[in-house]
């Protein structure tokens, strides 16, 4: 029994430590993960080796996410780049114990309502992958090159706000990173401060 408690403690400590110390940076290899998508299929990062991959941390209940979906901004980005062969993965790391948690069925309905069409949409209920990547806001964006190296980490654009009006004047940093990468140029702004709601991790 005490052994069990000790193991539990050790595991939760490790989780805490990893949460505190994680965070990946541009130039580093993107950590591999394996998560189940809302259609029940297993999605691995390595399945997309050879393609550019976008990771988008998502929480439908967050005003910052709503800003980019209700304006159609995020859907437009998804459409534009998936057509160019980029794999776009939405990730929701919300804990099932949090009121913002949406199970696979509800997630499907939300994506449908918003006409969002990512390549896949995965759930990360224990927050392991989110913490591994140091994802702290929704949205928090990551761009990975075909070799599996991170080329962009940060906010979706350079205008932190919840106002849709700011989208027009903001510089979309994900689009910039993808455009530069796809045309063989180095990414001018490889990292930026993410903005948004906190990821609703399990404590």
């Amino acid at each position: 029994m005490s052994k069990l408690v000790a193991t539990f403690l050790a595991v939760s400590m490790a989780a805490l430590v990893s949460a505190a110390q994680a965070a990946v940076a541009p130039g580093q290899a993107a950590p591999e993960f394996s998560l189940v998508d809302i259609n029940g299929r297993v999605q691995k990062l390595s399945d997309y080796r050879g393609k550019y991959v976008v990771l988008e941390w998502f929480n439908s209940e967050c005003p910052f996410v709503q800003k980019h979906y209700e304006s159609g901004n995020m859907q437009a980005l998804q459409a534009r780049y998936t057509q160019k062969g980029v794999a776009w993965l939405g990730i929701n790391s919300t804990s099932p114990r949090h009121s913002n948690y949406r199970d696979p069925a509800r997630s499907q309905a939300i994506l449908k309502e918003w006409k969002s069409a990512p390549t896949a949409f995965v759930l990360d209920p224990d927050g392991k992958v989110g913490k591994q990547y140091g994802a702290r806001t929704t949205p928090h964006m990551y761009v990975i090159d075909p070799k599996g190296t991170l080329v962009y980490v940060g906010g979706i654009d350079d205008r932190p706000s919840t106002s849709q009006r700011d989208i027009a004047t903001a510089r979309n940093l994900v689009a910039a990173a993808l455009d530069e990468s796809l045309s063989g140029k180095p990414v001018g702004t490889p990292s930026a401060t993410p903005y948004g709601c906190s990821v609703k991790y399990d404590n």
């Binding site: 965070a23 005003p63 009121s99 706000s161 906190s198 609703k200």
Partner: protein, 708 residues
Amino acid sequence: MRWLAICLILLITALTSMAPVSATPVQRPHIEAELIPEKSSLRPGAPLTVALRLKMENRWHTYWKNPGDSGLPTRISWTLPQGFSAGPVQWPAPRRINVGPLTNFGYEGGIFLLTDIQVPAGLAAGTAVPITAKADWLVCEEICIPGDATFSFMLPVSNEPAAADPKWAKAIERTRQQLPRPLEGWNLDAYLRGDDLVLRLSSGRARVVRIHNLTLFPDQDGWIENASPQRMIRTTGGYELRVASAPAIRSKSGPLTGLIVAEPGLAQGVAAAVVEVPVESASALADEILEQPALSPFADVGLLAALGLAFLGGVILNLMPCVFPVVSIKVLSFVEQARGNPARLRAHGLAFAAGVLVSFWVVAGMLLALRAQGEALGWGYQLQSPSVVAALALLFFVLALNLSGLFEVGTSLQSLAAKLRLRNDYADSALSGLLATLVATPCTAPFMGAALGFALTQPASEAMLVFSALALGMSSPYLLLCFWPALIRRIPRPGRWMETLKQVLAFPLFLTVVWLAWVLGKQAGVDAVARLLAGLTLIAAALWMIGRWGASTETGKRAATVVALALAVAGCVFAWPGNKTADAVAEEVTGPWKRWSPDALASARAEGRAVFVDFTAAWCVTCQVNKRLVLESDALHARFKERNVVRLRADWTNQDAQITAALRDLGRIGVPVYAVYAAGSKGAPILLPELLTQERVLRAIDVAAPPS
């Protein structure tokens, strides 16, 4: 009538449409917001402060300019007439707000965000000026709700002094007083050590201000891992703050800007300070990293920890050689008391504890009073006075003679009423407590140094608390025995053995007298010792007379008492050494050990040599034990020589202002202190524990003077 209805409708419509544009408080989900001009009118050319008051619901928060891991800072956009301009938001110091594994920087409860508006000088009095501002915020608990409000008001222009806002002016002024100020009285540098961003605060003052909960809030994201704990470490000249750095820190150019916040404050009335500091890479400071005083076991002591340490130190004091004899006396009296009823026993225990407590308070009170007068004194100072040493020697000598059975105290009182004797017993217990304290002072036991150092740099109330904890720790074993007499029953029944034990216990007391005589010799020379010994002999004669004839016939008793008194007074007068101290150096600074002085230390370090400083005193038992068993050992002698370490000895047997100041710089107020300065460095020394081991010193030498 109809006309009136139309009017009313129009009026209501007008009011409703104006509602969002107002200067009265607006209610939004989980937050109340209001824009408040500090003054009711504008003066041409005089700036006006306008406050955005945000009142969050319980557990909800808004954000600082760097919101941390998530969130958005509150924003104010101004619409002002021609010639007016709004300054930046004056952010109060934020708090760390943890949200699961993430951390935000923001505000809970209520805040005032102040903005100064520049008012043009050419404004005509009698006119009115519209001021409009739109505030946007994000208010979060577990979830976040963005909100905004537009405020507008007209302010009249007047050359008269304007009236302050009756309701909020005080709160606005308080906010202004608490705004972060430039850092003063501290030197700050910052560098990267491994993955840690390290801030070093070194005090420009002789006494380092005590602070807790030092926290860094960078102005921008990307410097630190917001959620990782910020660890403050007490260093010899100040503090060090270690924070896990963010990966992006390597790509930062320019200095780190932000706030540092500490409790109770970084200076009088300054809780938060604005800092701007270049972050150096670790390699530039590689040699200084070596000497981080991480080896000090009492690096950072908070009040609670200090109280705990003081208590523990008090318990340990009972085992110190200079206290143990008194303990022996007390153990004997406990055995005697155990025959009485438990209530009496408890009362004795409490009386003893009270005696200890009061005497610690007296010592602390004196120390604090002297400190207030700026006297360069420290713990153990009682024994820096030869007369105190001589008086103690007399006292112990009398006690030892009593234990030996030369004379009995109280035999003549046996005829007195039981009640009176009882009261005397309690007074006796209290006196034992006082005595125990007096003799404990030279034994700066392990754990005690830091607690005392802490106490003496704290406000008087906290210092008294620490001394109280020390006193309670010291009396705790007795209290335990008195309250659980079952423990005493394990002590053998009284009998002849007690008399034997009592007489045996006299010998440690005689040894204490020898030690005190030796200390006196170190301080005041051999003449003083001779006088002391002669005085002791006179007193022994006096006591012998009392023992021999004190219980005999009435006339014999009276004569004996008179002669004995005369002898005792003569003995005391004879033994009195005055406060003249010997010119001779009390501690040997011969052979490889050189006398410490600030210059000697500076020149040795200027040569790039490692230095070992032994802060010691003849009356310090711990110092002597360390010196004999460790510092003078052959193994250490060889190692010191091999590594070319300069050995300096600072002798504090007599008062020495320079040494007292040096001890204080090291954050200590008593001896022993062992400071090891690394070769070729300019930084603070490594401080070794008060109880040395050979192994520990060898390790320190390896760090300070690595084998070449």
